[in-house]
């Protein structure tokens, strides 16, 4: 019991230390350099703003979390599907990749107006942007994972007369899992970014909406409080994936130093 506690404590300690250190440097840096609050508020000011506006922040945060998760879920589904396709087929790879790259070089913010006009202001554009921004890293990594499967492993299944789909299910997919989880770390953060920029562009709710309103009122600490809430939500989601990852791809990390 005590042991388990102290172990959990030991795993939580390093990130806590860095985060506290980071906030400390930020706080002290701002104080020493005399950075104004409307440029970069100190963490304590941010915290104060958070406490002051708490009850107004959370409904917005839930909204953002909701759109992020829905968009992210879609991104996983379609990213894995697409990644699998372009990972397997050299033809699809060469046919689709340039288009995807081109599409992803374009800031998604530019699509916000289009979506707003089609779907109206609200949840839908945010979900779509969160999805669009996050699916590409997933697809790229899954594709790479699938395409770099050792042919020896593939032969194990081929020698059994396995279908292409079996090959994917039994070798391609598990083999691509480390790639997949790596991409999730990127994709979840991008999903949040997507939700927030969609809300910045047009919405009545969400952290993004709160941020524009706050910044137009020169309430910069509140803007940063919003950012902090997003950051914390990102970290929590990451922690969930990290747990999943530890379970599912322990084999890949077996060398763990």
């Amino acid at each position: 019991m005590n042991d388990a506690l102290s172990k959990r404590f030991r795993t939580l300690l390093p990130p806590l230390i860095t985060i506290v250190l980071f906030l400390l440097i930020w706080e002290v840096g701002c104080l020493v350099l005399g950075i104004d609050e409307f440029v970069l508020p100190r963490p304590t000011a941010t915290l104060a703003a958070y406490q002051k506006w708490q009850s107004a922040i959370w409904p917005n945060a839930w909204q953002t979390l909701f759109t992020t998760l829905v968009g992210f879920g879609l991104a996983i589904l379609l990213g894995v599907g697409l990644g699998m396709l372009i990972g397997y087929s050299a033809l699809l790879y060469s046919a689709l990749y340039p288009l995807l790259i081109g599409f992803n070089s374009v800031p998604k913010a530019a699509l916000v107006p289009v979506f707003v006009i089609w779907f109206g202001i609200g949840t839908m554009p945010a979900i779509l942007i969160a999805f669009l921004i996050a699916f590409f890293p997933i697809a790229v990594n899954v594709a790479t994972g699938v395409a770099t499967v050792e042919p020896e492993m593939r032969d194990v299944l081929r020698s059994l007369g396995a279908s292409g789909f079996d090959l994917f299910r039994k070798v391609g997919f598990p083999r691509a899992m480390p790639y997949f989880f790596a991409s999730l770390k990127v994709a979840i953060t991008l999903s949040f970014v997507g939700s927030v920029i969609a809300e910045l562009g047009a919405s009545n709710r969400g952290i993004g909406n709160m941020m524009v309103i706050a910044s137009s009122r020169f309430e910069v600490p509140l803007v940063f409080a919003g950012l902090m809430v997003v950051a914390v939500m990102g970290i929590v989601l990451y922690a969930i994936f990290a747990l999943l990852e530890r379970r599912m791809v322990a084999w890949a990390y077996r060398g763990g130093t």
Binding site: D36, F38, V112, V116, I117, I121, G201, N204, V212, F218
Partner: protein, 329 residues
């Protein structure tokens, strides 16, 4: 700063560098600044001026206060709000450019909104920082309805007029020029446009002004005076020949459409640069009574306390003599 050794009389005065932030992208209405720059009016004052675009008044105010720019051009009402929230970084306006504040509520004929009071229960769209939206409570109370009786939708500027045209919202707040222009560009016939400019509905506010921090002004009084002299000439030239002014804009920013910018500039001249007060007092000046009233209103609208003093908000100490800043005929 005092020179270490007295310069020989023949040598021109030391050049002062000024980084200047505009309120928004470089467009027709920015011409007073760019004309002055292009024609060397600033250089003649011994100034080396760099003019950058802005991203809205709030950003510009912050950038001047933060020290990235020495001077800038932004909504005086936004500046007041900033000053109250950051008293130790307060800025001061030194010359009004938009004598008539441009905040306007736009709606379309078929919305059935014929007076401000009809806005009750409607859906309004605007960017969060839009001055018209920020001052809407004032507009509402001046016109006798509850400011909370409308629903706001936040959107980026590019979406605003489109949303109104598409029926996404019932009304928008915008600067008169950009709202009018945006609606007509989006195929709304001018006859369908209904506009309630705040200035016409009981809000005698001032609009965009040149501003800087009092500390900078005090330390660089001569340079700032030179700047305002140059700017007044740029303003006069823009009024005298808008087409030539737009030429200059186009040189600076090849992407603009000269025709469009000229329309914009003309609209700004007609509605904001020039009015009876300007014709009487000249460029940049304020009517102290009007300023005092408008400060009072803004303080009420933004819930600012204590209300800033007119002296802190505006000073005419850096304006050239009146005869140098009268509009051309």
């Amino acid at each position: 700063a005092a020179p270490v050794s007295a310069p020989p009389a023949a040598q021109p005065p030391a050049i002062t560098h000024i980084r200047f932030a505009l309120d928004w992208a470089i467009e027709g209405p920015s011409s007073p600044f760019l004309v002055a720059l292009d024609k060397g009016y600033f250089a003649a004052e011994g100034l080396s001026v760099v003019i950058d675009r802005g991203t809205g008044s709030a950003g510009t105010v912050s950038r001047i206060a933060g020290g990235a720019y020495e001077m800038g051009y932004a909504d005086i009402n936004a500046m007041m709000e900033f000053n109250v929230k950051n008293p130790d970084k307060a800025l001061q306006a030194i010359g009004i450019v938009y004598n008539t504040a441009p905040m306007t509520v736009f709606t379309l004929k078929d919305k059935g909104i014929n007076s401000p009071q009809d806005l009750v229960g409607k859906k309004l769209g605007a960017p969060a920082g839009d001055a018209g939206r920020r001052l809407f409570p004032l507009f509402a109370s001046q016109n006798g309805f509850d400011p909370n009786a409308v629903e706001w939708v936040t959107m980026e500027p590019a979406l605003r007029e489109v949303s109104l045209a598409k029926g996404e919202v019932d009304a928008i707040t915008a600067f008169y020029g950009s709202g009018w222009f945006g609606l007509t560009r989006n195929n709304v016939p001018p006859d369908d446009i209904v506009a309630f400019m705040y200035a016409d509905y009981g809000l005698p506010l001032y609009g965009n002004a040149v501003m800087a921090s009092p500390a900078y002004l005090a330390a660089n009084a001569d340079a700032v005076k030179g700047f305002m002299r140059g700017l007044a000439r740029g303003w006069q030239d823009s009024l005298a020949d808008p087409a030539a002014a737009v030429e200059i804009i186009k040189r600076r920013e090849p992407l603009v459409d000269a025709e469009v910018e000229q329309q914009r500039l003309q609209l700004a001249i007609d509605r904001h640069f020039l009015n009876d007060e300007v014709r009487q007092n000249g460029f940049g000046a304020v009517d102290p009574a009007r300023l005092a009233r408008s400060i009072e209103m803004v303080a009420q609208g933004f819930e600012l306390s204590p209300a800033p003093s007119p002296e802190a908000v505006f000073t005419d100490a850096y304006l050239p003599p009146k005869e140098q800043r009268m509009p051309p005929n």
